[in-house]
Every structure is written in C-alpha cells, then in structure tokens.
C-alpha cells in the first residue's frame, strides 16, 4: 500500500525533528490512517516470514515475523535463535549481512553454518569498528533493499551484563524506516541482556538456552515474546525444541 508507507514516513519524519513538529500538523484523517496501519502491524504490504514455530507464528499479528521491519532479540541464545529464523524464513539464495563489532571473540563458523542450513557463500560478515559504524552499516544495508536479512550482533560478548548502550529510540526508528524502505528483515541481537527501553522495532524477543530433552536434539530455547508493536502481547512464552530430524515443537 503505497499511500500507507508514504504517510508512515511523513509521521516519522516529523518525529525525527521535534522542532518541526509544531509546524507540521497532520490532518486528522491522516492520523487515523497512520494509527490503523501501525495497529495492524502491516508494513511494506504486510508480508511476513514464518518463524517455523507454529504456536509462535499464531500469536504474531501477521502470522509470522513482519518483513520490512526490525526485530530485537535479546538473551544469551539470541544468535542461535536468529540463525534459526534465517533458515526457516529465507530461501536458499537470499543474501544475509551479518554485522559484528570488532574484537568479538566468537565468529561465525562455516561448517557449523552449513549444518544449520545456511550456505556461508550467501552470507557476508561486516566487522564494524564501533557502534555508530554498526548502526550506519545496518541502516545502509536495510535501506538498499538488496539483502534479505541484516543481523546485527550489538554486543562484544555474549556474557550477561556485557551489554553496551541499548539501541535507543531514535536509532531504532531510523533502522525501522530503513527496513520499510528496503523491504528486508532486520534482526538486532543483544546477547548481553535485556533492556526495556522504548523502541520502534516491530517485535522484541528474549531467548534463553534450555537443556536439550534428548541427546541428539538440535536445539532447545526458552523463547518469550516481550513486545509487539501496535498490539497487545498475547501468549508470550514457549519452550521451543528442535529435534534431531529438525522437527520443531513448542
């Protein structure tokens, strides 16, 4: 819906420059239209990406993770959950940009990614010197619309408490606008821990590791959905199990 996205930008543009807010008065019907769009959770035509987890999909507004939007994932297992989202949602040819801060000690590992179902050839890692550069990179990549997904590992370490400054409202709004312009998926990972700061992201998750039920299971997470933009949070916590055959249950 071209009209919808145009008005969205207009509203956010006003929000970006508080000085201009007084001058830029939006007509009432436009406000209502914006509210309707935001409430529906539909951005960029409302296309969604299945998380591959039935009950989780069911409780999301668009029956999946909204595309053309940014999502925040917190918690120590954020990175592995992000990999899961990429494998379940994207096609085999989609390009992924994975941003990491300089000095991070654990790196993506080819054979492991291959086993997870991601061909490393379609993934490019960007090593960013600092947070500003990382946000710029993510924004630029989302805006270009030429990558299917952009993942940002914001923290230098996955240990709890090592989190830096959370992505603030302004930054997250910029990223969200960039994602809307480009149509891709943005995943902001903060493994160091949670923050409850306001954000323009479409959803916010917390993912903790959970012990495997069977030895050969692939993964097990405690996933909670902390926040959905423009909607009440429905059922919020699941234990997600990926068994040896890749079957997912929650």
């Amino acid at each position: 819906m071209p009209n919808g996205s145009a008005s969205l930008k207009a509203s956010a543009g006003a929000g970006e420059s508080p000085a201009g807010r007084g001058r830029r008065v939006l007509p009432a019907d436009l406000r209502r239209a914006i509210a309707a769009i935001e409430a529906s959770g539909g951005h960029g035509g409302g296309r969604c990406l299945s998380t591959g987890i039935g009950p989780v999909d069911a409780s999301l507004p668009g029956r999946g993770l909204a595309l053309a939007a940014v999502h925040e994932v917190q918690g120590p297992a954020a990175a592995s959950f992000a990999l899961h989202l990429l494998t379940s949602g994207l096609s085999d040819e989609d390009c992924i940009l994975w941003c990491v801060p300089e000095g991070r000690r654990d790196h993506l590992y080819g054979p492991g990614l291959w086993q997870e179902g991601i061909d490393p050839a379609r993934l490019v890692a960007a090593v960013c010197r600092d947070r500003t550069e990382m946000l710029w990179t993510v924004e630029e990549a989302l805006k270009s619309g030429s990558v299917a997904a952009v993942v940002a590992q914001m923290d230098k370490d996955r240990a709890r408490g090592s989190t830096g400054k959370p992505v603030d409202l302004t930054a997250s709004r910029r990223l969200q606008l960039a994602a809307e312009a480009g149509g891709g998926l943005g995943l902001i990972l903060s493994e160091g821990g949670g923050t409850l700061s306001p954000s323009a992201a479409a959803t916010r998750w917390r993912v903790d590791p959970a012990p495997l039920e069977e030895v050969l299971d692939r993964a097990c997470w405690d996933v909670s959905l902390l926040r959905v933009r423009g909607g009440a949070v429905p059922e919020t916590a699941w234990r997600v199990r990926v068994d040896r055959a890749g079957q997912i249950s929650a």
């Binding site: 993506l108 890692a125 960007a126 960013c128 270009s144």
Partner: protein, 528 residues
Amino acid sequence: MTQQRALLSLWLPYLATERLEREDPALAACPFATFMESRGQMILAAVNPAAAGAGLTPGMSLANARALYPDVTLRRADPPEERKALESLRDWCVRYTPWVAVDGADGLLLDTTGCGHLFGGDAAMMADIADRLDDIGFTARMARAETPRAAVALARFGDSRPPATGINPRGGPALRERLAPLPVEALNPSADAAAALHRVGLHKIGDLYSLPRSSLATRFGLDLVTRLDRALGDLPDAISPKPHAAPYRVRLSFPEPIGTPEDIARALDRLLTRMTARLEREQRGCRRLTLSVYRADGDVKSLTVGVARAARDPHHLARLFAERLASLDPGFGIDSMVLAVPVVEDLKAEQRHAGLKSAGDDQKADRTGREGDPEFDRLLDRLAARLGSGRLLRIDPLRSHLPERAGRFVSVFHSTAPSLASDGAPWPENLPARPPFLLAAPESVEIESSGEEEPERFSWRGRWHEVGRVTGPERLSPEWWLPAEAARVRDYYRVESLTGQRFWMYRSLPQGRGGTAGEDWFMHGLFG
C-alpha cells in the same frame, strides 16, 4: 657506455595483396593485382608474387596489364584499409618491443634494443617474427642495424634473397660496409637528388663515403647528407612509436579555492560525469578511482574508492565517495581536483536500472537479496568505502580437518566462495555436529571433576558452569608432519550446562596417551 641500439626494420612488400588474400585464399594461387586511379588513368597499385612472375609491375597501366596477362584478377586498392592492416600489425609487434613505429605505407620499425634475449637471441627473435607473420599470411623482409634508416635501407634494398634469409644477424660487417653496396635510392632521397647522383655516376651509397660532406650538400642538397648521416649514426635519429592511450584522468581547476562540502561534492560530480562519459564511450568500467585535491597551501590529499565489479555509474561512484568526502580536509581551500582511474576493465553497455519502485512489489521481492544481484554488489561497494574492504568478509571453505582451519574469512573482494558452491558441496558433509560460532582462538578452561573423565564444573571467562550433559568425544589427530612431542590429540566434547548453554570443548592430550599428565581443557565453540 650506452648500449648499442638495435633497430629492426620490417618490410611487407606484398601487404596490399596479402591483406586481400587473407580474406580470400583463392586469390593467392593466381596472378592478382590491385589497381587505382592515377592522373586519369587506371594503374596497378600492387601485385602478388604470381602476378610479378607474369611480368606485371606496380605502376603499369591497367590496359597494359590486361594485354600482358588477360586472366589477371583485379581488385580496387584501398589505401585506408591497407593502413589499418599495417597499424594492426604494428600493435601485434608490441609483443616484441613497446617501441614500434609505422614506416611508410608498407613497413614497420621496431626498436629492439635489449629485447632479443627475451626470445633466445636476436636471430631467434627475427626468425620468430618471420614465422609468425608467415602463419598469419604476411611475407616480411627484415634487417637489423644500429640506426633506423640503415635498417630500413637494408631491409628494402639489401640482397634480394628469399625473405626468410633476408635476416642480417648482428655482428656482421660494420654498418658502413653493409650499407656501401646498396643503391643510393636506399637512402630515400628526393627524385631530383637521386637523378643527379646517377648522372654523375654515384650509384651506390659506398660511392658517397669518400666525397666531402660540404660538396655533397651543395651539389645534392643538405637533405641527402642528413639522410646519410642518420643512416650511419652520425646524426641521432628516433622512431615515433604509437602514443600510449591517454590516461584516464580528468581535472577541474577553480578560479577561487573552494572549501565547502557542497562545492566539493558538486565538483566531484562534474569530474565523475566526464570520466564516466569517456568510460561509457569506450565500453570500459573502473575498479578503483582516486580523487586528488590540490589545496591552496600546496598540500595534496587523495581518496581512493574501490568497487567489487567494474562500474561506471556516476551516481553509484558518487555515493562511494560521499562516505569519505567528510574526511577530506580542505584546509584553506582547494585549487583543483583530479580524478584518475588507474585500471580500467571492459564493461559492456547495460541497461540502466530505472530505480523506480514498481507497482509490482512482489516481483521486486522475488529479485532482491539474491545472490548475484548487482544491487547487492553495489551495497558491498558502499559498505567497503566506509568500513574498508578488509572488513567485509565471506567464509571460504578450506579442506582441513582441523576445525579452526576449515573456514577462512576472506574479503568479499577476494572470495572464491560462489564458484566453489557450484561443484557439489563445498563444505564437508557427515561431520559430527559443529557449532555455528567458533572462538577466534581456543580459550583455556578450568575443570573440576571428581575423578571421572568428564568434568562436573568448569570455569570459562571467570564464570563457573555446572555441567549437565556431555556428548563425545570426537578425536581429532594432529597433522602427521608435526614432531611427535609437539603434536597433541584433541578430544572434542559437546558440553551442556545445567542452564542449557551448549559449548564445544576439547581436551588436549599428548599423542602417546601416557596418562593424563599435561592434559588441558579448552573452549573452542558455542552452539548457542
């Protein structure tokens, strides 16, 4: 002492006919000539060896030629095409030396000073030239000498043995002696001078040696003396090789120094437009662009941007610079700017992207974000302009069973991953589970266990983890070429903590497995 020069003259006596015979080999078998119009009369311009054998010569009128040999095949001469053929032969000769010049309508001059040894000696090089020219259908007569004029004279007027033996190897008689038996026409004098020389009985170059220069000059003109001196090397003579292609460089000077970012960006736009217009004309693209700014205080600053794929889209290139322009300190102002492309590549014309968001949004969604998408390459270029190309990495597979060597981060600009992906699975299949995240270097882990093989608690990065479940081991042997005492076996375990975190750890054992002495635990990967 300077090295003796070595000039090689190449005469292509049958260039005009052989050019046509290459296109139509049937012509070579029969008498064949080209003709042209001269002073209202049709005359023969060039004849092939068969026609020459039948008595036809260039300059003969067409009527005469037909009378002499009625079956002669005739084609109209085409001097511009002949010139083109000669020029392409000149370019072809650059394989031997960069200094190649066109000599007259049917000759080439090569300055082969110091080049002969590359081909196994001067004689071998000349034989090679003759062979290769013969292969592509040209007959050549060659001569080497220390001066260009002498080489030309020897090639054209030297003994008229068959072409392949027309080679005069170096180290023969001295230049004066070699030139002496040649007719004076070999010096290419004016027609008047040549006639005057013959009138007084000076038929050979050698006849001129004993005469005083001054009287030669008064009788036959200074030009003749100059030619003689050049041929003998008493006067310097140079050849004019083809000029190099103009460098890809555009320059903009300002009447007043500029300094604001907007002005700089605008100036850069103009430079880019001019540069890309030329690249477009020549079907080229650039991989690297360097912008140099000359500041009013005499300082020169430069910026270089690179692209993953040859490009010439001014908007794209401008965006690459845009990230970096801010770091350009204009100082007290910029006097002039120069944009240069050190390396160009062929780039065929392509349809420009419309850059519009089409109504068919779904169609767009199908295309974007896929491998090989040119937009993705452009994005990488832009990111590399700010981050540096060494910070955009792909993981290339490497065939090694050592975990830390199996994947290698390579700059996307050097990665070979896409090509590998095409031939089967580039990554090893059927491995036991590998973590998606690997530590840059294995990190030491402190272990607590109650006598068992497997740990009960371990401390990593200053935190204690209670072990819930251990899977393994998977034994990885060291490379066999390491000395036995340095080589250690690794037993890899997947260790799950009670909180569900899963780690990839290994125990490093001495190869002999002599007890547990010196065994250490290391953290190597994270499952999530």
